[in-house]
């Protein structure tokens, strides 16, 4: 089978693997450990990412949904960072994995003090191609993320333990630490078709 006939296969295999995982496992630490292994394999190459999920917006970082589990057990999103783009300080309220696909991302974790103010938690982190970071209530859920390359697009693949487009979470005022409720949307009304196996199957007929 010609690889070009089925360039999206690594993403399809990842989605099948994650679906099997959430069907048989519900312990969060196991989902994180085994999900990270699957994500590590996915981000070993980047030719599977459809073109329309790689396009930066001049002003805003983009969140292209790649797949959402219909039962809300996980979602997969392509984050596309244009030069200089940066999230607000935010949380997730569920577990999440960040896998660096192209370029480089920098992040800073925060913790909330009893006063409600935010304090940096550990040093600034840098994710390079192939690196994975974990976020979530169990390991540190508040952070800020930005493109670490000043003049190029960076892309990271995020996996969350829910449909992130339906999760009530928070941004935080950097000075006062005051939380504000928010929910993130998706940047496209379409997602990739992972399921056209016809070219591959056709090549195997009689």
């Amino acid at each position: 089978m010609n690889n070009q006939l089925d360039s999206i296969a690594p993403l399809r295999e990842f989605v099948i693997g994650m679906t099997n995982l959430v069907s048989h496992e519900s312990v969060e630490q196991e989902l994180i450990t085994k999900g990270s292994e699957l994500l590590k394999t996915l981000i070993q190459s980047d030719s599977w990412l459809p073109e329309f999920c790689t396009i930066p917006h001049p002003e805003f970082y983009q969140q292209f949904l790649l797949h959402a589990d219909p039962l809300g057990r996980f979602s997969v999103v392509s984050f596309v960072w244009g030069p200089g783009q940066k999230t607000p300080i935010h949380d997730h309220c569920i577990w999440g994995l960040i896998g660096m696909l192209r370029g480089m991302e920098q992040g800073q974790h925060y913790k909330r003090l009893p006063s409600g103010e935010l304090e940096m938690d550990g040093p600034q982190t840098v994710l390079r191609q192939g690196d994975i970071e974990v976020v979530g209530p169990a390991v540190g859920d508040i952070h800020v993320v930005s493109n670490a390359i000043p003049d190029k697009t960076s892309i990271s693949i995020h996996v969350y333990g829910a449909n992130i487009g339906a999760v009530k979470r928070h941004t935080y005022d950097p000075i006062t630490g005051k939380p504000k409720k928010f929910v993130s949307g998706y940047s496209s009304q379409q997602v990739p078709n992972l399921w056209d196996r016809s070219a591959e199957i056709r090549a195997s007929l009689n």
Copy 2:
């Protein structure tokens, strides 16, 4: 919540319902009966179908994938028939449901004689908006389908008991009945994003 914010909700609810069904049921007759009930509800309205899944091709009937279950237990396809368009005589090798969404479709079932030749099986059928037909090895799997309206587009929603884009099946020569292996593809490399709940959730944030 404003309906326009979430016009795709009926399709999302259908996909969730089908996913729950195939997660808890494996008896084919039950899948057909309960799947038909869900499909009946889905095709009561048609405003949920995204525009890009309604566009006829001047020459070929179109098959827009709406959703495929990652574990291959079902798929949902928008069939768009331009004026005069018609399938070859074909089978499915799995169960399938056809729900008429817009316009009208005519069909003819066939059975194979011991000689291998085809014979019409029952009268020509006509599907009108809201009607559902069942196909499959258990109930009659060989048929031909065409747009029953000579000058307009017709659209039917098909549900299959597998990813139909990966099923080896057959077309049949109308004279000799000779089968030829085939697999059908999909007409778009993208599928609708059913999972952006952010407008709805945002409206509920205080």
